[in-house]
């Protein structure tokens, strides 16, 4: 069929040459070159599903800087390549249009969001932490040294990485923030 010419590719002509009209003759040029898109991935990362705690292995395929597929890792002795509906929806989780990619800011008593650049937002948050910490610092409580602030609290989800939890606890503890909690309590 490589011999070009629309006429020779015209399925009716191919039918006349003896090809089956419900098989070969019906195939389009696109069909002939169809391959699984994961074959064209630029990279594959071995990951873990972010939903429940079973810890199913995931393979994350990336093509042109975008996730092109996420599916089960057959090597995982936990999941053997299988995924539940949530795990199977992981690509949508990371690519869906409702995902926010900009910093948003709501000023006190404000009625709408406004954009803020990341650096400004980080500076503003750091300023607030430092200010609130100073303003609410407790050196002692009932005569005992406590070295803490009850003015700053934190609640983390349980999809945080261990390394993230570690830095959070480390920083908060050094700052004297003790109301540091997690989904694990809930």
């Amino acid at each position: 069929m490589a011999d070009g010419g629309w006429l020779s590719r015209w399925p009716v002509i191919r039918q006349l040459k003896g090809e089956d009209g419900r098989r070969e003759a019906a195939r389009s040029a696109r069909t002939d070159v169809l391959r699984p898109r994961v074959e064209e991935a630029d990279s594959v990362a071995r990951s873990v599903c972010p939903y429940c705690a079973v810890g199913c292995g995931q393979l994350v395929y990336v093509k042109d800087g975008k996730v092109s597929q996420i599916e089960g890792d057959p090597d995982s002795p936990i999941s053997r390549g299988r995924l539940c509906p949530k795990g199977s929806a992981s690509k949508q989780l990371v690519t869906h249009p409702g995902r926010q990619t900009h910093v948003l800011y709501r000023r006190p008593y404000g009625t709408h969001w406004q954009r803020l650049d990341l650096e400004t937002a980080m500076d503003m948050i750091a300023d607030r932490v430092v200010r609130t910490r100073r303003e609410t610092w407790q050196q002692t409580h009932d005569g005992k040294e406590v070295r803490r602030t009850l003015g700053i609290a934190s609640l983390g989800g349980a999809t945080l990485d261990n390394e993230e939890n570690y830095l959070m606890k480390k920083l908060y503890t050094a700052l004297g923030a003790i109301q540091v909690e997690n989904q694990a309590r809930i």
Binding site: P85, Q92, H102, A153, E164, L167, I178, N182, R185
Partner: protein, 835 residues
């Protein structure tokens, strides 16, 4: 399990295929119920009656695995003569103070171990107020290594006899009366689990938040532990009690806790009123025998990891830098602090309390009273948008223009856009490779906290308040265009280093003198040999069924905890079928399929010399090495806040009385009696129905990671309740129509699914209807599908040990049709509150 952990459930299906008999006990007929041998519907909040009756069945018929029980549990240990049981005090244990509603556990001690005057070493009011039991869960409270014991089990004060007496009233008749499980069904269950336990066989229990989210949740697990210890099912393959955890790294979030009462590795946060310096703290916290005897090494290595060279022997290794607790600083206390105005700034990181925590209104009122709020997430969850779409705006309780909270929404990187480890439900750490950079302003939480820490340090001076921050080791290699801190470097810090600066390979290398560092002692070894062990990916098909070279499990890559118990006291497997680890006398070490959870060179005939410490204080026959006496605790002499043994108490909100004891509900449960948190009166005709919440396969928690996804949202597009045909007929509910569920907190509207999967139960002579409510929906949150918030119905009433809310059993009323809106909603609730 099929519902919430479908991929894990493949192994249950496989076990069934090989002949395992599977029971499902749940108030709600789920996908699991549909695929097991026997489904037993139970009234929510009564599992201790069932488990207690199973324990009674085992004890009364002497079906326990006696050799195991004698050798490996504290069945023979003799308890203080001051102890009084619920049998004696009509539902209370000795030591209860009605004033503070707290227990003094002194009388629960082993004989000869009773504390003197004043605050006991572990337990007690201050301990209880700060959720101290949380740390004991893995830790083992103080008790002596060789307490008095009666191996004949005849002593009236030995644990075995106390147990027998305590559980005698937990009969099949009581199960039928309180749980709604018939005597025949109970007999089938009891027969199955006892027949399937012993040398040749093991039985496993699997639970989830259906056991924990109760005002007596910890004691549910305790009850199962007693049963499993009696049947010899702990530390053995195919045995155990498995907690199926619902979030990717919720296990990791307790191991390396972002929890108020814990430091990494279940080390208790210091308490201002209980501890002074480092030495005093170590003296007060935990026993000297068993592995906790090494706690100085664990804590000092942690302090060295955090404050590096600044931490020296002379300054208690900066122990004083740790802020002190003075009571309850948990999530719900924090929310009350927000409402009261003490909490000014709040970070919410990958969490959505506005719809995900009990009593959503209290959560939102708290958020509305902050100075500033930082929300980090993938989408605009309700916690970020409450100021413009909270239900309280419609009722007039809040007005956007009056809410002074400054809100920062910081978009987060997804799991494929950062590297790091999750710890799964079996304590397995798995490293995720990064697939690509996060888009736009999205950053990992690692990036956020690292750079925030740097910015804060730039703003601080050197006074005594700021010194802990300035001296903190806070210098990680930065990678890539976003200057992402190296997660591998953080993991290596967690693993710890030796005096030579090299990564440690085992927690046994940790030293009390400050020569080692370790961010989390139970994770020590995850970077052994300078290799990220959590990143190991040897295919399962190329390994044994234990798959030791896939990821890394704490501690020391052991896949079954306390697996010394899989061998008999002499170190031989209980049976060939159940061989797991065993003593190899020729080589003089423990060996087997898994890594032995035991000092590998300690022979079975080892007996500790007088004055021995830590693991050396335990015998070669003591498998439960974290406990001070090396035994599995049937009876808990200290550490728990609500009793040494489980007792059935009705949920805080319950439509029926407790027919077992005069004491209706858990006397030590934590009640937050405030205007924001009104309760339904127990046994109230206004709230005649039991309701329970749960998850569906198609969604995740409060929906933050599922509602915005069309592929998941379309599968379960609306909040609904499940009711029986009988209740539907009584109340006038129509399948596919609307219902309004009312509690003292609020009323929400849901679609109705009338189904025979929900069965009315006959409880104490009357029909009790249960209503099931999946809790995945919220009013916004970028969700494709929105609806009222089921968690808004929930009261805040907490388990006294770990401060988890009772969200699995409450009471409510149900009405046909949609709810009123605006003021009319508040009026409706007022009417219900005041009858």
């Amino acid at each position: 399990m099929a519902e919430c952990h479908p991929v894990g459930y493949q192994w249950v299906m496989e076990a069934r295929d090989r002949g395992a008999k599977v029971f499902h006990i749940d108030p709600h007929f789920t996908r699991t119920s549909a695929t097991v041998d026997r489904y037993l519907p139970i009234r929510a909040g009564t599992d201790i009656v069932l488990l207690g009756a199973l324990i009674n069945h085992v004890l009364a018929n002497e079906l326990d695995f006696r050799e195991y029980v004698l050798a490996y549990t504290n069945a023979a240990t003799i308890i203080s003569a001051r102890y009084r049981d619920t049998e004696d005090l009509d539902g209370l244990f000795s030591g209860f103070d009605p004033e503070t509603r707290r227990y003094d556990p002194a009388s629960w001690s082993y004989e000869g171990d009773e504390p003197g005057e004043g605050e006991p070493r572990e337990g007690g009011i201050r301990h209880a107020e700060a959720a101290g039991s949380d740390s004991y869960g893995a830790r083992g409270a103080g008790a002596s290594a060789q307490p008095p014991a009666d191996p004949t089990l005849r002593h009236p004060r030995c644990v075995y006899q106390i147990l027998k007496r305590h559980f005698a009233r937990y009969t099949p008749e009581r199960v039928a009366e309180l749980c709604g499980i018939s005597e025949e069904e109970f007999a089938e269950l009891a027969e199955a689990i006892t027949a399937n336990s012993g040398r040749e066989r093991t039985t496993a229990w699997v639970y989830s938040v259906g056991w924990t989210q109760h005002s007596v949740g910890v004691q549910y697990i305790r009850a199962a532990s007693i049963l499993q210890l009696l049947l010899g099912n702990m530390g053995r393959p195919g045995g155990g009690i498995m907690a199926l955890r619902g979030h990717a790294s919720i296990q990791g979030s307790t191991d390396i806790p972002t929890l108020f009462n814990l430091l990494p590795g279940y080390i208790a946060m210091p308490h201002a009123l209980r501890h002074d310096g480092l030495d005093h703290y170590l003296e007060q916290e935990g026993a000297d025998t068993g592995y906790w005897g090494n706690r100085r090494s664990y804590l000092v290595s942690l302090l060295k990891a955090w404050w590096g060279d600044a931490a020296t022997e002379d300054n208690d290794f900066c122990f004083g830098y740790l802020p002190r607790l003075t009571g309850d600083h948990s999530h719900y206390a924090t929310v009350m602090g927000q409402i009261d105005g003490t909490v000014k700034g709040y970070f919410v990181v990958g969490e959505n309390p506005a719809v995900g925590s009990a009593n959503g209104k209290a959560q939102r009122l708290g958020l509305a009273n902050l100075d500033w709020l930082v929300v980090r997430d993938l989408t605009l969850v309700e916690t970020a948008t409450f100021w413009k779409d909270a239900p309280e705006l419609e009722t007039g309780e809040l007005r956007t223009e009056d809410i002074g909270t400054e809100v920062f929404f910081m978009p987060a990187a997804s799991h494929v856009e950062k590297e790091g480890t999750f710890t799964n439900t079996q304590r397995l750490l798995q490293w995720r490779e990064k697939a690509l950079d996060p888009p736009g302003d999205c950053r990992s939480d690692l990036w956020f906290y690292y750079h925030l820490g740097k910015l804060i340090r730039q703003r601080l001076g050197g006074d005594r308040i700021d010194r802990p921050v300035m001296e903190l080791t806070w210098d990680y290699p930065e990678e890539g265009e976003h200057r992402e801190p190296s997660a591998a470097a953080v993991l290596r810090e967690i693993n710890g280093t030796g005096p030579d600066g090299r990564a440690l390979s085992s927690l046994r290398q940790l030293k009390p003198d400050g020569s080692t560092t370790c961010g989390c002692w139970i994770y020590c070894g995850v970077y052994a040999g300078e290799v990220n062990q959590a990143a190991r990916r040897r295919p399962g098909s190329e390994q044994s069924w234990i798959a030791p070279e896939w990821g890394w499990a704490w501690p020391a890559n052991r896949r079954i905890l306390y697996n010394r118990a899989s061998a008999d006291p002499d170190g031989r497997p209980w049976s060939e079928r159940k061989a797991y680890v065993w003593w190899d006398a020729d080589k003089g070490l423990w060996t087997g399929l898994d890594i032995p959870d035991f000092d590998e060179h300690m022979p079975p005939d080892y007996r500790p010399p007088e004055g021995a410490r830590a693991e050396a204080a335990l015998a070669g026959t003591d498998p439960f090495i974290m406990q001070s006496d090396g035994k599995g605790w049937l009876f808990v002499p200290s550490g728990l806040s609500d009793g040494p043994l489980p007792a059935h108490y009705e949920p805080h909100e319950s439509p029926v009385p407790n027919t077992l004891y005069g004491q209706r509900a858990n006397p030590a449960r934590r009640i937050l009696d405030r205007p924001e948190n009104p309760y339904n009166p127990p046994m109230s005709s206004r709230f005649p129905y039991v309701f329970t919440t749960y998850r569906l396969t198609e969604h995740h928690t409060a929906g933050g990671m599922s509602r915005p996804l069309p592929y998941l949202a379309e599968l379960q597009p609306a909040p609904f309740c499940e009711v029986s045909p009988r209740l539907a007929a009584e109340v006038g509910l129509v399948n596919g129509g609307w219902a309004t569920i009312v509690t003292a907190r609020t009323a929400i509207e849901l679609r109705v699914l009338v189904t025979e999967r929900v069965r009315p139960l006959r409880i104490a002579g009357k029909v009790v209807h249960q209503i099931g409510v999946p809790y995945h929906w919220g009013y916004g949150g970028g969700g494709m599908v929105t609806g009222d918030v089921p968690n808004d119905l929930m009261p805040i009433v907490l388990d006294p040990n770990v401060f988890i809310q009772e969200s699995k059993a409450g009471t409510c009323d149900i009405l046909p049709g949609r709810r009123p809106h605006g003021r009319a909603l508040l009026d409706l609730i007022e009417r219900y509150r005041h009858g």
